[in-house]
Symmetry: C2
Subunit: 404 residues, 2 copies
């Protein structure tokens, strides 16, 4: 069950001027499921995104990258669940392009102004005809106040819909930022994660928007992991509809900061709703020589099945964390100098268990739903924070039966 995570209230997701959303039941995997999302953007919109680094990236990822690179701007995004259109070769690419063409015809724009996204099972052919048949229904549903339904339409194994809004003042003018995301398993984003969409009414030049989304992704989606599996379909898109406040270097900082906050809350929501999760774990590695080695140690802890199952059991079997730090691959690490904390409890120092450590103190923290593991390396000033969840029976259950 999701850890300290509740779906956004129906009125919590603020409309963004210049962005309309429409949803359809296209019957892609099964009937009666709202599985197709269409987003229409104002002509003034700029769009930037970061995508999976998986070499087996999905056909829609390839096509969305191409269309963004074409530089004609984006007028629409189309998202389907129930099928990832990944590992589908040339016919998958043709299906992604045909989706864009059909959308462009419907909305009166160029096919290269449409960006496609898919999520679901890998290596199954995309049921293109169902998507094309569902598009008019999605178009008829287009409205600004549809983010709540959109957050639900992009879910797959997610239990809880994920959405966040922020309204900030920039130079006396209001700027709205609303984001939605989906993802629960196959989560170890590298550049982005499994489908996140953040929109704002601000006007942001394309090149600056790309820098802003990259920086937000690096501080949010690129700091989470559920199972270490980097998806074929990851994409985080930042849409600036351009109908509101103009962003330039003078007011970029508060805008970046609000976008990063929305991205971070969405990324954390994905971990809190991680497949089978019962614990939300923040891993903070400090005092490293550089950010890379802090992340390397953090991911070794975050990916260890032994540590994840100990968290599930609320068992302070904390030697497993020392073992993971030791095999993380930092070759010259002096283990006698590092310290390990569980929340405020000092667990290990001088290469072993701290003299002050009491098992009941470790037990107390392990029983919490939210836990921070903190490692201080004492060899520099760099730090990194990652977020992950535990590993439960339900993770196995969900993934041993996802397709059936």
């Amino acid at each position: 069950m999701p850890v300290g995570l509740h779906p956004p209230a129906a009125n919590a997701l603020l409309p963004v001027d210049g962005v309309a959303l429409g949803i359809a039941e296209a019957g892609i995997k099964k009937a009666g499921r709202r599985d197709l999302l269409l987003m229409q953007l104002a002509p003034s919109a700029t769009v930037a995104g970061v995508f999976t680094q998986n070499r087996f990236c999905a056909a829609p990822v390839t096509v969305a990258r191409e269309h963004l690179a074409a530089g004609k701007g984006a007028r629409a995004l189309v998202v389907n669940t129930g099928n990832a259109n990944a590992g589908t070769g040339e016919s998958g690419l043709a299906a992604a392009r045909a989706t864009c063409t059909a959308t462009a015809t419907l909305l009166g724009c160029d096919a290269e102004q449409v960006l496609p996204y898919s999520t679901g099972v890998i290596m199954e052919p995309l049921p293109l005809e169902k998507i094309i048949a569902g598009l008019p229904q999605a178009k008829a549903d287009l409205k600004a106040d549809n983010w709540h339904a959109a957050a639900h339409a992009i879910m797959t194994t997610d239990i809880v819909a994920k959405g966040v809004s922020r309204r900030i003042e920039i130079g006396g003018k209001s700027v709205t930022i609303t984001g939605i995301a989906k993802g629960s398993g196959m989560i170890r984003p590298n550049m982005a994660t499994m489908l996140g969409y953040i929109a704002t009414d601000a006007a942001v030049p394309q090149a600056m928007l790309q820098e802003i989304v990259k920086q937000a992704a690096d501080a949010s989606f690129n700091c989470i992991t559920v199972d270490g599996d980097t998806s074929t379909n990851d994409a985080l898109m930042l849409i600036a509809s351009g109908v509101g406040t103009a962003i330039d270097e003078s007011n970029r900082e508060p805008f970046q900061s609000a976008v990063t906050e929305v991205a971070t809350l969405l990324a954390q929501a994905i971990v809190r709703d991680g497949e089978g999760a019962t614990k939300f774990i923040t891993i903070r590695v400090e005092g490293g020589r550089d950010n890379a080695e802090c992340r390397q140690i953090g991911y070794a802890i975050a990916h260890s099945p032994l540590i994840k199952t100990a968290f599930f059991a609320s068992d302070p079997n904390l030697g497993r964390i020392l073992a993971a730090i030791g095999y993380a691959g930092v070759g010259d690490l002096d283990v006698a100098k590092l310290k390990l904390y569980l929340d405020d409890v000092l667990v290990a120092e001088n290469g072993g268990r701290a003299a002050s450590y009491l098992e009941e103190e470790g037990q107390r923290v392990m029983k919490q739903e939210d836990i921070t593991v903190r490692v201080t390396l004492a060899r520099g000033d760099a730090a990194a924070t990652l977020w992950t969840c535990d590993f439960s029976y339900d993770y196995v259950k969900i993934n041993a039966s996802y397709r059936s």
Copy 2:
């Protein structure tokens, strides 16, 4: 339950001249468990070994390395289960040294001629007094025909004891090789694995013995993984008692080959007895530019929780394998050129599902206990083979309750 693995018959493990083994109930973790193994070696013996690369390596690993480096030869090995003596700082090192001193006094040799090994829970103090009290009992039990009991004495979460013997002819003379190993979880050896001991009556110079054990480990223990966690205590030792046939460059090859075969069978036994395992999976990556990239792709497949749970479910959800190949980190991999096979069934080619692939064929292979995943990269002549197991409810159960 172990996959196609049976314990060695009581008479299947051949005595090795020049090596005596004694077992005791020392009550290290709980009473009534044979948890202490003493091995006494002939004065002519040479010993070589490879150890974990974990920076948090256990105290006995540090001491065994020091004692081997001292160059006085080894006369005894002491192995305890129930406590890893890892993450125990200076007091752990003192306890490992005290174990050697007590053994040396008992057997009349130098403390530096004793090599200590521990396995069990990490970051708990070693109950030194219980070990010292148990040593005389182990000494009284010393005999050559005790390998079967020794294989049982070193088990922790293992379900099945692991032991293999081979007798070969070299230059018309008989050479005996007997090996035992333990390990089931925290298995992703790097240089060696969690306690393997192989002994032979051959006479082998120390330097050559070290090369032979390294080569055997690289082809066996360094090719397996259960959960990706590299233990703090891994050690593979090769003991040549020196009372039998002399090995030199002229007869090295058949000897190396027999040692590697014993090591490979022991390593595979660890995977077959992997915590919660229901499937034994061979991963073969061929046609790579070098061995490193083949292993990188192999381990990405072997460590993916999504793939491991699909094997548990016998579900040919094979897109997950493509995803893992894609994120393995081989940056210039051309996914359109690779092929994926499940045993003899071609699953994917040209970047997607093979036209000839039938779901029922995939299903048939996935239901087997022994499965081979074969990936051909078509970019070179290098290849690598790894062995792993699936990921079941029982893995979570075992590791969520190991300490309690």
